[in-house]
């Protein structure tokens, strides 16, 4: 298992799209190193030939009939939008 003593907290925060303060970075790095150290116990388990479990009762090929059904009305769907105009959500400019 990888060395967990030095977590690249900046890379992880970047992947998580989460801005962290210097204090949070320091605290989380330290706490996560502890938690990850604990998690290294999992290395002790012999998992040779063991299939991973994603769900306790896996269901496959759950089909639904291809029928049009009413969805949320526009007003309901936009009710919680932080900013909106003309039935659209307003966001900062994406393309210069």
């Amino acid at each position: 298992m990888a060395d967990t003593t030095n977590i690249d907290i900046d890379r992880v925060a970047q992947l998580a799209r989460l801005a962290l303060t210097p204090e949070e970075k320091e605290k989380f790095s330290r706490q996560l190193a502890e938690v990850l150290h604990h998690m290294r116990q999992l290395e002790q388990v012999d998992v040779t030939g063991v299939e991973p479990t994603a769900h306790a009762f896996p269901l496959f090929n759950v089909w639904a009939d291809d029928l049009a059904k009413p969805g949320l009305p526009v007003e309901a769907a936009l009710r919680n939008a932080p900013a909106q105009r003309d039935n659209m959500i307003v966001v900062p400019k994406v393309v210069e």
Binding site: M1, A2, I7, I9, R11, V12, A13, L15, A16, R17, L18, A19, L20, E24, F28, Q31, L32, E34, V35, L36, H38, M39, Q41, L42, E43, Q44, V45, V47, V50, E51, P52, T53, A54, H55, A56, F57, L59, V62, A64, L72, A76, A77, R79, N80, A81, P82, A83, I89, V91, P92, K93, V94
Partner: protein
């Protein structure tokens, strides 16, 4: 005390409502009065709407007058954890991220409760996004344990457990990802049922860890848990993990299914870290079953020591993925400080999420990231297979397992500042979620300082009927469920 309306069971109240000895409005008013009396101390609710609740109760009375009662839940005040969607009600997950969110639709369980005539009453406090074991991670306020208001109610469904214990609702719903129903039920001295994964639709439940999350009831008695389960269980095409299975009449099965049963004692659940008072109470419960003629057998779940690690890898990985949706764009908190669209994501999430949620997102992102996925996430999923197999092996020999629900009674508010110490509160409950099994916590006594203790019974998949019958057998031979906190 026991005659007070707010501490009556659904089973009793439904009879009195049916006989017209009591109206739903009178009942709702009694629960409102009680809530207003104790809420300053308990603080179980994030929000509640008395006018709306009384109007639902009036509708229930009108149905009864017209001979159109919808069944035992018609007119019963039921509180919901603030993580389950109810149309036009606030839905905050106790997070600043969703502080102003109003749900545009009903979750399946809310719709089912409405169809059963239940009065949906209040939004109950919880750890933010259900991440925690004490409700101290709520962004709104701390909820107190009704038995000792200097102690935590447990979590993450702390408000749901405290509200039932304090008589602020007749029953409530919570959600359980690693013990979030059973642990607070134990700490507040009420019944908490976590059903088999897939039995209850998760549609309209704010997702934490999708392969582990399950909705379930808090009640005063096992019979009430059966009534609640009946109304919310069943296949739902809106949840692709929802299971198609025939539903028994859970309440009727309580009487039909009689012991003696074969019960297993997993030796790994009685080791280091177990409070002696909790251990002694569970031993007395085991003695009860033995005296009833049950065969008691020691069993081993050898991978138990890996449950905590496997759980925190899988749960945080799924959480980091599920919580990616909170980006400040379509709904939820939007930062006013953002410079551009990318910065909007970073800042909105930084401002909207609390510390524990951030910690778990970071951990979950890490274990899923390139270079670490196989070492952590994939390995944890394989260990999960072995953990699940341990339980299934035990069920070759026994009908159910008996364990403590928690290692200790409720602890003081602020006592567990270290994340790892708090994670250890779930040590007896998380294996059940990893294996997808049903389990129930029932009150089994009190500590010397007067705090409730919980007994956990773990059943076979989709065998809630037997599990509840076993739990009821113990409950009916004791009076723990008839005791209530004094204020």
């Amino acid at each position: 005390m026991a005659d007070e309306l707010h501490y009556q069971t659904i089973a009793n109240l439904s009879v009195r409502l049916a006989k017209r000895e009591l109206s739903a409005v009178e009942l709702m008013q009694a629960v409102i009065d009680r809530t207003n009396q104790v809420e300053p101390k308990v603080r179980a609710f994030n929000s509640r709407n008395e006018v709306d609740a009384l109007s639902q109760a009036t509708a229930a009375d009108a149905r009864r007058s017209a001979g159109e009662s919808l069944g035992p839940l018609d007119g019963i005040p039921i509180g919901l954890k603030d993580v389950i969607a109810v149309e036009n009600q606030p839905l905050t997950a106790s997070s600043k991220m969703l502080a102003n969110f109003v749900s545009p639709y009903d979750g399946t369980v809310a719709q089912k409760l409405k169809r059963a005539g239940a009065v949906l009453w209040g939004r109950l406090n919880m750890d933010e996004f259900a991440m925690g074991s004490s409700t101290e991670n709520s962004a709104t306020h701390q909820t107190a344990n009704p038995w000792d208001t200097s102690c935590v109610p447990g979590g993450s469904s702390g408000g749901s457990a405290a509200a039932v214990a304090a008589g602020q609702a007749i029953a409530t719903l919570g959600s359980d990802t690693g013990g979030s129903i059973r642990q607070p039920a134990a700490l507040c001295g009420v019944v908490g049922l976590k059903p088999t994964y897939g039995l209850i639709s998760r549609y309209g439940l704010i997702a934490f860890a999708s392969s582990l999350d399950q909705i379930g009831p808090f009640t005063h008695t096992v019979e009430d848990a059966a009534i609640m389960l009946q109304s919310i269980a069943g296949h739902d095409e809106c949840d692709s993990t929802s299971y198609r299975t025939a539903l028994p009449d859970y309440r009727d099965e309580l009487k039909q299914r009689q012991g003696p049963w074969k019960l297993g004692i997993p030796k790994e659940y009685f080791g280091e870290g177990l409070d002696p008072e909790v251990g002694a109470a569970v031993e007395r419960a085991i003695a009860h079953y033995r005296a009833q003629g049950c065969e008691i057998k020691e069993v081993s779940l050898p991978h138990t020591r890996y449950c905590l690690d496997a759980y925190y890898v899988i749960a945080t990985a799924e959480a980091s993925s599920n919580l990616a949706r909170y980006d400040g764009v379509r709904y939820g908190h939007r930062s006013k400080a953002a410079k551009d669209i990318t910065d909007l994501y970073f800042q909105s999430r930084a401002e909207g999420f609390g510390e524990e949620v951030k910690r778990r997102i970071i951990l979950g992102t890490y274990v899923l990231s390139s270079g670490y996925y196989d070492a952590y996430y994939l390995r944890a999923q394989k260990v999960r297979t072995l953990i699940r197999q341990d339980f299934l092996n035990a069920y070759q020999e026994v009908d159910a397992l008996i364990t403590p629900t928690t290692p200790t009674p409720a602890f003081k508010l602020g006592a567990k500042a270290d994340p790892l110490a708090l994670y250890l509160c779930d040590i007896y409950t998380i294996g059940v979620n990893l294996a997808g099994l049903p389990a129930v916590s029932v009150p089994c006594g009190f500590s010397s300082s007067g705090l409730p203790l919980g007994l956990q019974l773990i059943g076979r998949p989709f065998e809630e009927a037997s599990l509840l019958a076993i739990a009821r057998d113990y409950e009916q031979a004791h009076d723990w469920h008839q005791r209530h906190p004094q204020f």
